[in-house]
Each structure stands twice: as structure tokens, then as C-alpha cells.
């Protein structure tokens, strides 16, 4: 047995426990290797399991390319997006995506969200959740395999490690080797590189909350707010810890998603599966010897060696599998070398279950489950888009004073007090005119002013303005009203004088018993 194969053997021991279909134990019977024993033998079992390090090998292939593309895309978006500019006019931030806490606004290109519109975020979260459900129904945990930040950053950290320490076998050797100067240098250099990536990650996060170019300079000049540095330190610390150190442990022990996925995949979902009908009986294959009476799997364990989770996909679908398909790339490379058909391991609709038979046929993408998800996503998006498109440039809330309900003036006239908040969502000053109707003879009275028929005010760009407003109804008119109780209705009309945008708010007007 070559040195490499021995190392692979070491790796072949599953992380913590083993799920082996009866009769196809990856250890003894098929290969006949005497030095392998079940890790879950009762006498060896402990209350607590030590971590077994995973040393994923470099792999080339379609899915590896897909992972590169996803990593490049998602990291570019994450790191560069805050620097993207979007002109909104004078006095308004020109950052395309900005969560501006001091002014309590969130900007997303042309969309501007005020605190009272945070429900848009609910819509986004719903779309994200159903999108995740849809992807999972179609192809299992593809989110985990390609797009999850934990996967992307772990992948990045592993690549840095590989760049400095070499591929799987060199890393295994290095970890076993005594502490030489070269080893110490490599380890320290690796951790420094990791920390740099981690700091950049934490650093990028704070750019979403302030003007990025300004903050970028301030950060290096030491002029940025302490909060920025604290957040960078916390986020960098967790990036380093979760992506560099903890890696697959996060997915297995911290993340709830692996547990939830069982409810979201079905027998039609395309999941990574080993075609055991074709692959078994597995065994080493000598070049030129016959393939009759044996399976295509040559038991080279490349699928195990490349797995970032350190599992053996031939044991069947398992909780640890993140559906990244790197084992597919690895296996296809080997199948090509031994001149067998590819896709011994593949995305395949399968009955979910350990060692379950692989359903070779195709599976419908359009089925009730996926249709419902698509309909829900479409409906939520439609609602969000239509509310965004119909978002008014002018908004008013009117709150009537509840205490006192009404005030009788010395003349006997009835006065009610209102708190108005008028919001101007356009990026320029607007003059608005407020009038009130609903009861004959009704009059407006702004504070510190005489009765008026209308009231004008100027509201700044992207601003809301609170104002107090009294409404007075002459006693005679109140008595003349055709109402049975002490409640009448008045309408506040708010009109923007520049473009004529109007809105009306109906509210109550209370008075004494007649």
C-alpha cells in the first residue's frame, strides 16, 4: 500500500461516527484491510468525541469551478458593494446600499426605507426563506454547498492553508512533523493571512453602515468611531474562529439547517448519491483486468479525501453532507482515468435514507412542492414591488388628542387637538398646504396663531415634520350636526403645492352631548 493510500485510509475514518449500510462496511469485509475497526465499537465509545481534523484535497472539475464562481461573486459583492455609488441628489447619501442609523433610513439603490417600512425586510426575508426551501426541494443543501458564508469563507481559508502548507498529504505530513523553523513559519504565516482576511471581512461589514470611502480612510487614520473598531474586531474574531478554526464543526454541531433539511427534501430532490448498484462490489482494480463481476468503484477513496466535511458519501446521505459535489468531481476524474462512465457519484433523485437504493431515473422539477414555493415567492415579490411602486411621496399620520377628548372654549365652541406628522419622501423641499373639511364652519388653528382656513408649511427633503393643529367647530354647527353620539368626522387634506400630490386623512372630532 502506498504512503498516500495509507494516509487516505486514516482519513477514511468518519468524523465522529459511522453510518454503514449493513454488509458494505467501508472498513473490513470488502477490502479486507485488517487495521481498520469500527469507530463506534461499544467498548471504545466515549461520552465526548475528540475532533478529527479534515484535510480536504485539491480537486478539479465542473462543481469546483461552480464553487469558484460562487465564491468570487459572493465575496466581490460583499467586499465591493459598499463602495458602489448611486446619485440621489443633494443632501442625501450617494451610497448605493447604506443603513444609516443616525437618520434612521436604509438605502438600497432607488429604494429608501424608513423605520416604519421595515416590513419590507420581512418580505425580503420571506422571499429568501422560500428561495431556500425551493433550492432545497430541488437539489438539497446547495445553499450549504455553494452560497452559505460559512462554506465560502471556510473554502477561502482552506485555499490559503493549501497555498502555504501544500495539499492534503503535505499538510498531513506537516502536522505530524516535529516543530522546525519552517513549520513554525508556515503556521504563523497562515494564521496571519487568515487574520488579514478576517479583518477585511469585519471591515467590509461596517462599510454598510457609514459612507464607505470616508470610513475607509478614517479607519486607517484612526479617526473612525470606536464602535467601528469594536464591530470589526468582533466580526473578524468570529470569521477567524468559524471559518479558519471550527470549519465543518460549525455545520455539524452549531447549525440547525442540517436538521431542518430532512423536512424539505423528498424522493424527487436531486441529492448527492453514490450509485451503489453500479459501484458495488467495490475493490481495487488492476489496469487491464476485467470489470466483469465487480462494481465500478475502485475504492480509491478520492471522494473521501476531497470532502470538506470529511465524510464518505458511499455510506449514503448523511447529516454532514453539504451537497457541494466535490466528490463528484473527484470521482469523475478517476472514472475517466480508469476508462469507466462518469457520474458514479452524482446529483440524483434518491430515496432519502442511509444506503437507500438510488433511483436512476430523472425526477420532475415541476411538482406541487416546487410550484407552491414559486407561487409564494412570486406573490410576495409582486406585493413588495407593487407597494414600492405605489409608495407615495407624501405621507401623513394624524393622531387625535385623547386627553382631553375635546375642549369647550369660552365662546362655547368645540376644539379638538391633533398631532400631525407629514413626511416628504422626495429629495427636495416641498411646500404643503393643510386644510380641514367635514363639518360646516370648521376652522384650523395652528399653535400661537389665529383661526385660519388653511395652513402652509415647508418640509425638507426626505424629512418628516411633526406639527400640532387645533380644529374648532362652532357650537351652533356642532348642535346642527346629524349625529347620534358625540363623535363626528373631519378630513385633513394635505396637498403638495409643487406637484399637486394630495392625500386625505379622515379622523374623529369629538364634542359634548347635544
Amino acid at each position: 500500500m502506498s504512503e498516500e493510500a495509507q494516509e487516505d485510509n486514516h482519513q477514511a475514518e468518519p468524523l465522529v461516527y459511522k453510518r454503514s449500510p449493513a454488509g458494505t462496511s467501508a472498513g473490513g469485509t470488502v477490502l479486507g484491510t485488517p487495521d481498520v475497526a469500527a469507530v463506534n465499537k461499544a467498548e471504545d465509545r466515549t461520552m465526548y468525541a475528540s475532533r478529527k481534523r479534515v484535510y480536504p484535497r485539491r480537486v478539479y472539475g465542473t462543481f469546483r469551478v461552480a464553487k469558484w464562481v460562487m465564491m468570487t461573486l459572493s465575496l466581490s459583492i460583499y467586499y465591493l458593494l459598499p463602495f458602489l455609488r448611486f446619485d440621489r441628489g443633494i443632501g442625501v447619501p450617494d451610497q448605493a446600499i447604506l443603513i444609516d442609523f443616525p437618520t434612521r433610513k436604509a438605502y438600497f439603490f432607488a429604494i429608501e426605507i424608513w423605520p416604519q417600512e421595515v416590513y419590507y425586510v420581512t418580505g425580503l426575508l420571506l422571499v429568501a426563506a422560500f428561495g431556500l426551501f425551493l433550492a432545497t426541494a430541488l437539489a438539497g443543501r446547495v445553499w450549504c454547498g455553494y452560497a452559505c458564508p460559512q462554506t465560502v469563507w471556510t473554502d477561502l481559508f482552506v485555499h490559503i492553508e493549501r497555498w502555504i502548507e501544500g495539499d492534503r498529504n503535505q499538510r498531513l505530513r506537516l502536522d505530524k512533523a516535529p516543530w522546525t523553523f519552517s513549520k513554525i513559519f508556515k503556521k504563523i504565516f497562515k494564521h496571519i493571512c487568515w487574520l488579514v482576511v478576517a479583518l477585511a471581512t469585519g471591515g467590509a461589514a461596517v462599510f454598510y453602515f457609514a459612507d464607505a470611502p470616508t470610513l475607509f480612510i478614517d479607519l486607517f487614520a484612526g479617526d473612525a468611531p470606536l464602535t467601528s473598531y469594536i464591530f470589526i474586531a468582533v466580526l473578524a474574531g468570529f470569521t477567524y474562529l468559524l471559518g479558519g478554526i471550527a470549519r465543518e464543526q460549525v455545520c455539524i454541531y452549531m447549525c440547525p439547517w442540517p436538521r431542518i433539511q430532512g423536512a424539505l427534501v423528498d424522493e424527487h430532490s436531486y441529492l448527492i448519491a453514490y450509485d451503489d448498484k453500479r459501484g458495488e462490489a467495490r475493490g481495487a482494480h488492476k489496469k487491464g483486468s476485467s470489470w466483469d463481476g465487480r462494481g465500478d468503484c475502485i475504492d480509491c477513496k478520492q471522494c473521501v479525501a476531497v470532502c470538506p466535511m470529511g465524510i464518505d458519501i458511499r455510506d449514503g446521505l448523511q447529516m454532514e453532507c453539504i451537497q457541494c459535489a466535490l466528490c463528484v468531481d473527484a470521482c469523475n476524474g478517476i472514472m475517466k482515468k480508469v476508462d469507466r462512465a462518469p457520474n458514479l457519484i452524482r446529483y440524483s433523485p434518491a430515496r432519502v435514507g442511509v444506503g437507500g437504493a438510488v433511483n436512476v431515473g430523472k425526477s420532475p422539477l415541476i411538482r406541487p412542492r416546487t410550484v407552491i414555493y414559486v407561487v409564494l415567492i412570486t406573490a410576495i415579490l409582486a406585493i413588495m414591488i407593487s407597494t414600492l411602486l405605489n409608495r407615495a411621496g407624501l405621507e401623513t399620520t394624524v393622531i387625535r388628542d385623547r386627553n382631553p377628548l375635546f375642549v369647550t372654549l369660552s365662546s362655547g365652541n368645540i376644539r379638538n387637538g391633533y398631532s400631525l406628522n407629514v413626511i416628504n419622501r422626495l429629495p427636495h423641499d416641498r411646500q404643503i398646504k393643510i386644510t380641514v373639511t367635514g363639518i360646516e364652519g370648521v376652522q384650523l388653528r395652528p399653535p400661537f396663531s389665529d383661526n385660519v382656513t388653511s395652513f402652509t408649511a415647508t418640509i425638507g427633503p426626505d424629512q418628516g415634520q411633526d406639527m400640532r393643529m387645533f380644529v374648532i367647530v362652532p357650537l351652533a354647527q356642532w348642535r346642527a350636526l346629524d349625529i347620534s353620539d358625540t363623535r363626528a368626522e373631519v378630513q385633513f387634506h394635505v396637498e403638495a403645492l409643487d406637484d399637486g400630490e394630495m392625500l386625505a386623512k379622515t379622523t374623529a372630532f369629538m364634542g359634548p352631548k347635544k
Binding site: A38, R45, Q249, G353, D401, P404, S410, G412, L475
Partner: protein, 292 residues
């Protein structure tokens, strides 16, 4: 090995189960990762350190106050002191500025309104109500009727010195005689005056009695309330012709008011609240809608 001790092995995985059975579903007995256990130990150590550093154990006479002597009461006191010192910037400005200056300054006016509202809730609401809507005998401060004047300076003076308050020599003082109790008018005469007052207030009154009452009014009441009954603010004499009545406008209530007089008291706040707070109160009350 008894039957109970025999481990139950899951058929599919070959892994021991916990032996618990929920409708046929069994839980695999998987080992916990060691780092998780260590995290737990670290949290225990942290808790011990926390108990040493922060107040933790009660003792017979008090409690162990911790290495750094932290106290939530002190923290609150510090927070309040800090808030006060921050607020002092504004309250000093308000104390120094005139009412006109404050009203011209939007930011200062906002502070004054908010501060006035808070001070009103703490000090004035028990009698005047949280909405300053008043109760019988306690004036509604929202309306445009003012016994002692509704300008900012009038309101400030009333708050400073109170009404009929023994402890303040400059208090607002009006002393209407107790016409029945003191034997100035008899029952019939008072009833006549009631009819007259009801008439000038716009109510239904007996014409003959009102006419008799008018003469009595001119002799006994007009000195303060004015010949036409519109009152006199310099004496705190209410306007009797409008729609606002502090104690009510029923004839029985009017009879009682004339017979026994009404002598509501408001304390002077000058010694109890600082000048800035009183100014804020005046601005708040003034802005309720009736300010002049």
C-alpha cells in the same frame, strides 16, 4: 448484564441509542464534541470569576459587593447625574432666556415643551389631570378662560406663587365673601342673583327674579366681576358670561358658590421647582391651546 443495561443498537447505523422511545423514534447516543464540553467548563470558570468580580452573595448585614464594587444603584445615580448635566446646557439657556427668545428658538422650544410635559406629569397632573383637562374646582388649562391671565408671564407668576397659598406673600389672592354664611344676603336674594347670573350666562332664567338679581349683582358683585359680569383678571374674578365654569353652572351649584364662596388653593412652586422648570411649565401650559 441485566436486560436493562443491555445497549439498544440502531439497525440502520449500528449506533447505540439512548434507549428512549417516542412512538418508535429513537435517538442515537452520539458523543458530544469535546470542544463543546470545554466551552461549558469555560463558562463555569467565567461564572466563578463573575461572582468574585461582581456583587453576588448575600450576607447577614448586606451583601458581598464584589472586587470592583459595582452597584446598579450607583450606576443609575451616575446615569441620572450625567443626564442632568447634559440637560443643564438647555435648562441654563432656558433659565437665562426670555419667553420670546425661547419661542424663537425651535430647538429650545422643543426641549421646553418636552421638559414642561414631564414636569407637568410629575407635579401638576394630580389636580389638573394628565391632559391638563382639569376637574370640578381644578381649572382646565386647555381652554381660553384664564382666572389670572393667560400670557406666558401671567402663567409663570401663577405657578411661582400659587393661588391663595399661605406660604407665599405674593400669592394670587381673591377673597369672595361667603354671602350666605356671612349674612350679607339671604336665601331669596341669593336665588335672585342666581337667576341673574344664569341669564347673563345665556341660560333660561325667571325674568322677574333676574331683574331683582341684577340690582343685587350691581351692589354686591359688580365690584369684582364687573357690571356686565365679564370678570376681572387682576382680582381673579371669573367671567360669568361665558361657557366655562370651574364648579359648574347649575343653579344649585351657583347658589352654593355664592353662599359659601369657593376658595381653591394651588401651592406656590417657586421654592419647589427651579426657575427653568417653571418656565418650561409655563411654555407647556401656554401651548396647550389657550395661551394668550
Amino acid at each position: 448484564m441485566s436486560e436493562h443495561d443491555k445497549p439498544d443498537i440502531d439497525d440502520h447505523t449500528g449506533v447505540e441509542t439512548t434507549g428512549h422511545d417516542w412512538d418508535g423514534i429513537k435517538e442515537l447516543n452520539m458523543p458530544l464534541p469535546k470542544w463543546w464540553l470545554y466551552t461549558f467548563y469555560v463558562s463555569i470558570v467565567w461564572a466563578i470569576g463573575y461572582m468574585i468580580v461582581y456583587p453576588s452573595w448575600p450576607s447577614l448585614s448586606g451583601y458581598y459587593s464584589g472586587l470592583i464594587g459595582y452597584s446598579q444603584r450607583d450606576a443609575v445615580a451616575e446615569d441620572i447625574a450625567e443626564a442632568n448635566s447634559k440637560r443643564a446646557v438647555y435648562s441654563n439657556k432656558i433659565a437665562a432666556a426670555s419667553f420670546d427668545e425661547i419661542r424663537a428658538d425651535v430647538a429650545l422650544m422643543e426641549v421646553a415643551q418636552a421638559g414642561g410635559k414631564a414636569a407637568f406629569g410629575d407635579n401638576c397632573a394630580p389636580c389638573h389631570g394628565t391632559g391638563a383637562q382639569g376637574f370640578t374646582g381644578f381649572p382646565n388649562l386647555n381652554d381660553d378662560e384664564w382666572l389670572w391671565g393667560g400670557t406666558l408671564n401671567d402663567i409663570e407668576y401663577t405657578i411661582q406663587h400659587g393661588v391663595r397659598f399661605d406660604g407665599d406673600d405674593d400669592t394670587r389672592l381673591s377673597d369672595m365673601p361667603r354671602f350666605k354664611v356671612d349674612g350679607i344676603l339671604d336665601r331669596a336674594q341669593i336665588l335672585d342673583v342666581v337667576e341673574h347670573v344664569t341669564k347673563i350666562a345665556g341660560g333660561e332664567a325667571d325674568a322677574d327674579r333676574a331683574a331683582r338679581g341684577a340690582a343685587l349683582f350691581a351692589d354686591n358683585c359688580a365690584a369684582c366681576h364687573g357690571a356686565d359680569g365679564t370678570g376681572d383678571r387682576s382680582q381673579g374674578a371669573p367671567n360669568l358670561t361665558d361657557a366655562i365654569w370651574l364648579y359648574g353652572s347649575d343653579k344649585a351649584v351657583l347658589y352654593a358658590s355664592i353662599s359659601n364662596s369657593r376658595k381653591g388653593v394651588m401651592p406656590a412652586w417657586a421654592g419647589r421647582l427651579d426657575a427653568a422648570t417653571i418656565k418650561q411649565l409655563a411654555l407647556y401650559v401656554h401651548a396647550l391651546g389657550g395661551g394668550e
